[in-house]
Amino acid sequence: MNNLVIGQFVPGSGILYKLDPRTKILMTIAYVFLLVFANSWPTYLWSAAFLLMALVLTKQGLGLYWRGIKPILWLILFTVVLQLLFSGGTPVLFAFGPVKVTLPGLINAFYVVVRFVLIVLMSTILTITTPPTAIASAIESLLKPLKVVKVPVSELALMLSIALRFVPLLMGETDKIMKAQKSRGMSLSTGSLIKRAKAVVPLLVPLFVGALQRALDLANAMEVRGFESAEGRTRYRELSYSKADAWAFGAVLVFAFGFIALNFVS
C-alpha cells in the first residue's frame, strides 16, 4: 500500500512546487476537461506535449510516474479490450467467430489509452507537487463562493485535512490488526470468496472501534486548545498567487487555444 504514488506528496524543488495549489488544481481541472473533447491525432500530441512540459518542470524522475501508472495498467488493459471488441464499424481487421476487431475499434482503443494515461499523469503531477494540506486549503479557498449558499466550506476543509492526516495512521493500524489476526490463525488469502469476505469483519471491527476512539480523543485535544468553530480562525499558511502563477495561467491559456484550434481543424 505504501508504494502507491497516486495521491502521494513527494518533496522536490521543481518550479511546479512553487505554484499556488489553487493554480495547480485549476490547471488540472482545465486539462482534464479539455482532454475529454480531444478527437484527433494533433490534439492528443498537443496535450501530450503540454503534459511533458509539466513533467519536466516537476524535476522528478520518470520512474516515479511509471510507478504511478503501474497499478492501473490492468484497468487500462480492460478498457482497451472493451474498445477493441465492441466498437463495431468497418473495415474488419480480423474476426474470431462473432467477435470482430475493426479499424475504428483499434483507433478508439489507442485514443482511450492515451487519454487515460494523460489524465492519470496530470493528476499525479498535482498530488506529487502539492502537500495534502495545501490541497485542502486550496479547495477551501476555491469553494469560498459557496459560503453564500450556506455550505460550511471551512468545516469541510478542516475535516478534509484531518482525514488526510489520519490516512497513514489508519493504514499502519490496519497493518497491525492484520498481523495480529493472522497470528491468531486468520487467513485472507485462502478459502471460498464468502469465507474471505467474512475474514474481513474481524479486521474492520477493531479498526472502526480504534478510529472512533481516536476521533473522541482528537475532539478533546482540539477543544482544549481553544477550538470552537472552523469559522473565524486565522491561518498559519496563507495562500498567495505569485508571478509563477501568472506564467502558469498563461501557459494553460496557450494550451487551451491551441487545443481548440487543432480540434476545429480536424
Binding site: P131, P132, T133, S161, I162, L164, R165, P168, L169, G172, Q213, R214, D217, L218, N220, A221, M222, E223, V224, R225, G226, F227, E228, G232, R233, T234, R235, Y236, R237, E238
Partner: protein, 273 residues
C-alpha cells in the same frame, strides 16, 4: 500563595457506572508541581477532564485562579490551562509539526505574520525546532509528546496538565519528555503550575507533592519524601514504590529515609567502606 486550581466538594458520577467522586476537595497552588497517582480506574484522568470542562460534574465547584468553571468561563479557563493527553497520535491535529503548533494559535486568532516566530520559540523550548516541517508519522512517540507540549506552550498557559503523557512511550522518549518538563519548570519557576497524572512512581517522585486517589477519594496528599516511607499503605492502594525505596525495603534497612536512586547509590557505597 494563591491557588491555581481549587476543587471543592466535587461530586461526579459516570453516566452508567455509578458515582466516582463524592465530596472531593483538592487545591493546587500556583507554581506547584503536583503528581496525581492512583491505580487504573481510580478517577485520576476523569479529574483532569473535569478541570478542563470536558466532562460535566454534578455538584461542587472548580475554580481556576479564582474563576469559577462554568459554561461562560470555559474559554477563559481553557486559555490558561493546557493539557497533554496519553496517546501521542490522537492529539496531533496538524499535518506537520509547525502546523500542529499553529492550530491553537489559529484558534486564538493570532495574526498569520506573528505565528512563525511564536511557533519557533515554542518548538525551541522542547528541543524540536529542527523538526518543524516533519510529518507526525515520521516522529517517535516521545517527539510527538514534546510537540504536543510545544503546541500548548505556544498558547502561554499558566497550568499544564499531563494525563499519563509518558505511559505509551519507550524509556528513551519518556526520559526526553521528563527532562523537557524539568527544564520548563526551571525556566518558568512559579509562573508554571504542573499537574502530572501518572501511575509511574519514579515520575511522581519528581513532583513537589503527590496526591494519591483511590476510587475517587483523596487518600494521601503529601511530599514524595514523606509518602514513599509508607510502603505498606501504598501497596494496599495497588501502587508500587519507586525502585530506590523498594530496594531499601528489601534490604531491611532500619529507619529508612527517602532517597532517590542516586542518593541511595552514594549511601550504599559509603556503607560498604
Amino acid at each position: 500563595m494563591t491557588d491555581a486550581i481549587t476543587i471543592k466538594n466535587l461530586t461526579y458520577s459516570y453516566p452508567e457506572q455509578g458515582q466516582l467522586f463524592d465530596n472531593f476537595s483538592l487545591s493546587i497552588q500556583e507554581g506547584e508541581w503536583l503528581s496525581i497517582v492512583g491505580h487504573n480506574g481510580s478517577g485520576k484522568s476523569t479529574l483532569a477532564k473535569l478541570i478542563l470542562g470536558l466532562l460535566d460534574f454534578d455538584e461542587g465547584e472548580i475554580r481556576v485562579f479564582g474563576q469559577k468553571l462554568q459554561l461562560e468561563t470555559l474559554a477563559a479557563i481553557r486559555s490558561q490551562v493546557g493539557m497533554v493527553f496519553q496517546n501521542p497520535d490522537n492529539q496531533f491535529v496538524g499535518a506537520t509539526v509547525a502546523d500542529d503548533v499553529a492550530f491553537g494559535l489559529e484558534n486564538r486568532q493570532v495574526p498569520s505574520e506573528e505565528m512563525p516566530a511564536m511557533i519557533e520559540a515554542a518548538l525551541k523550548q522542547v528541543g524540536m525546532a529542527a523538526y518543524a516541517d516533519r510529518e507526525p508519522h515520521t516522529l517517535s512517540g516521545g517527539q510527538k509528546q514534546r510537540v504536543a507540549l510545544a503546541s500548548i506552550l505556544a498558547l502561554q498557559p499558566k497550568v499544564i496538565i499531563l494525563d499519563e503523557a509518558t505511559a505509551m512511550l519507550d524509556p528513551e522518549g519518556k526520559q526526553a519528555v521528563l527532562q523537557t518538563l524539568k527544564q520548563l519548570k526551571e525556566r518558568y519557576q512559579s509562573k508554571l503550575t504542573l499537574i502530572m497524572i501518572t501511575h509511574d512512581m519514579e515520575e511522581a517522585a519528581l513532583a513537589d507533592r503527590v496526591a494519591v486517589i483511590d476510587d475517587g477519594r483523596l487518600v494521601e496528599n503529601e511530599a514524595p519524601r514523606a509518602l514513599f516511607l509508607k510502603g505498606q499503605e501504598l501497596a494496599a492502594l495497588g501502587l508500587a514504590l519507586p525502585f530506590a525505596m523498594a530496594l531499601q525495603k528489601d534490604l531491611a534497612i532500619d529507619q529508612p529515609v527517602y532517597r532517590t536512586k542516586q542518593e541511595l547509590a552514594t549511601w550504599l557505597s559509603k556503607l560498604k567502606a
